[in-house]
């Protein structure tokens, strides 16, 4: 490590001490610099041993319970989706049924997700709903953090399979909320994200807070008051927003 002007940055990098912008620049540089790659390999050995210097503490058993509740709910959801997909296939293969002369049955419309007993991030069969709701409730409960009633921050549950690292928080102060998302996926083509406020026993109310993350990030001020709101939700909607949600929420932040 004698020639590269970035050689002194290697240690900051392996210690995680680079500010975000410098981190991005250094990672881009690292791709093309053999000297810095070699420096990282050398110093990473020492950095990787540092966690051992922390006093070893046993995590509380409830932590594992909470994590495994979410994991089992994910498994249940995947199995339910696989079963639903399997059930749908033979139906498509069958020849079209002979039309009945009698009055056609009125198509049964599914209940919108916000009128189901509790909001889950995705629809799950009734038999599995309990597990998912336990996970949702528990996780939502623990992730609430922050200080007094006047100002607090809630970590939201995010359902974005295409971006497993996506995060969202809602900061509430003086009955106004600010949503912050990080590592968040772009909305589908032609759509934007919209923030909704859900009060007990009522349909989600639309807000004018529409956003598209840039570089995975967005800070969105919700101008509507959040008094009495139990959940802040985000769905993707057509440009311009919707009056009624057209998709299941990708973010659920439980305020109460």
């Amino acid at each position: 490590m004698n020639g590269c002007e970035h050689r002194e940055t290697v240690a900051s990098y392996v210690l995680g001490a680079l500010p975000d912008d410098e981190h991005e620049r250094f990672v881009a540089h690292l791709v093309t610099c053999d000297e810095c790659q070699s420096g990282v390999a050398e110093l990473q050995v020492a950095a990787d041993a540092l966690p051992l210097a922390a006093m070893q503490l046993v995590p509380p058993p409830e932590l594992k319970d909470r994590i495994m509740a979410v994991v089992h709910a994910d498994v249940a959801r995947r199995e339910a989706e696989a079963e639903a997909a399997q059930a749908a296939q033979p139906a498509q293969a069958e020849p079209p049924a002979t039309p009945e002369p009698a009055r056609p049955a009125r198509p049964q419309r599914p209940r919108p997700w916000w009128r189901r007993p509790r909001l889950a991030l995705r629809p799950v069969p009734a038999a599995l709903a309990a597990a998912a709701l336990i996970a949702l409730g528990v996780a939502g409960g623990v992730l609430v953090s922050g200080g007094d009633e006047a100002a607090r921050t809630v970590t939201a549950l995010v359902d974005a399979p295409s971006a497993p690292g996506a995060r969202a928080t809602v900061a509430v102060a003086d009955e106004h909320a600010t949503l912050t998302v990080r590592d968040f996926p772009a909305p589908p083509e032609g759509r934007v994200y919209q923030v909704w406020l859900k009060r007990p026993g009522r349909d989600p109310e639309p807000t004018g807070a529409l956003f598209t993350p840039r570089g995975g990030r967005a800070v969105v001020e919700v101008r509507d008051g959040v008094g009495g709101v139990e959940q802040v939700l985000v769905t993707d909607e057509p440009r311009g927003g919707s009056r009624v949600p057209t998709r299941a929420p990708v973010v659920v932040a439980r305020l109460t």
């Binding site: 002194e8 050398e42 050995v45 020492a46 051992l52 070893q56 503490l57 498994v75 970590t155």
Partner: protein, 190 residues
């Protein structure tokens, strides 16, 4: 063969396919190290639990990202925990609350040696702590502030009223010495 006999790398292949039992085994093996690191960094039990929960759920949902050619599962897990803890520190000002609460938690939650592996890890931990203590104080300080404190090198330069180039140099010298002293301990993280 039961899961308990599988290597971490083999468990991760199962986790990638959505095997909850394999994930649970990975959690059991590394949760103590993860929680310890998170607690050391955030200084509060609640924040440490949030960090560990976020990190393991991220691992569960993105197991495909694990690349065995770039290090052990343990190193990968602790890397995720470290990044999440830094995020938590930088976004929620936990810095201000550190060391102000949860003092004495160590006595209540300190890990007990239950197996030979855990006893060996305790010895390795002692070696790393001793190696850190042998560094010149100005070097160990910048390393601890950066790695455990989650501070950027420019924040450390301001805190210590020292040029940023000096801070970077101390970090590099300290890590080079640590690497030399730890020698064979590199395998400890595997």
């Amino acid at each position: 063969m039961g899961l308990v006999h599988l290597a971490d790398e083999d468990l991760m292949q199962l986790v990638r396919r959505g095997d909850a039992a394999a994930f649970e085994m990975v959690y059991d093996r590394h949760a103590t190290a993860a929680f310890s690191l998170a607690y050391r960094m955030t200084g509060t039990r609640n924040a440490a639990e949030d960090v560990v929960q976020e990190a393991f759920l991220s691992l569960w949902r993105s197991g495909a990202r694990y690349d065995h050619t770039r290090g052990s599962v343990r190193t990968w897990v602790l890397g995720i925990v470290h990044n999440r803890a830094i995020d938590a520190l930088r976004r929620s000002m936990v810095h201000d609350r550190r060391r102000a609460s949860d003092e004495g938690i160590e006595e209540r939650f300190e890990a007990r040696e239950r197996t030979d592996v855990e006893a060996a890890r305790r010895d390795e931990a002692r070696d790393v702590r001793e190696a850190l203590e042998t560094l010149p104080p100005e070097q160990s300080k910048v390393i601890e502030l950066a790695y455990f404190g989650g501070f950027t090198h420019s924040e450390i330069a301001s805190m210590l009223d020292t040029p940023i180039g000096t801070v970077k140099g101390r970090m590099r010298l300290g890590l080079e010495k640590l690497r030399g002293q730890l020698g064979g301990l590199a395998g400890a993280m595997s």
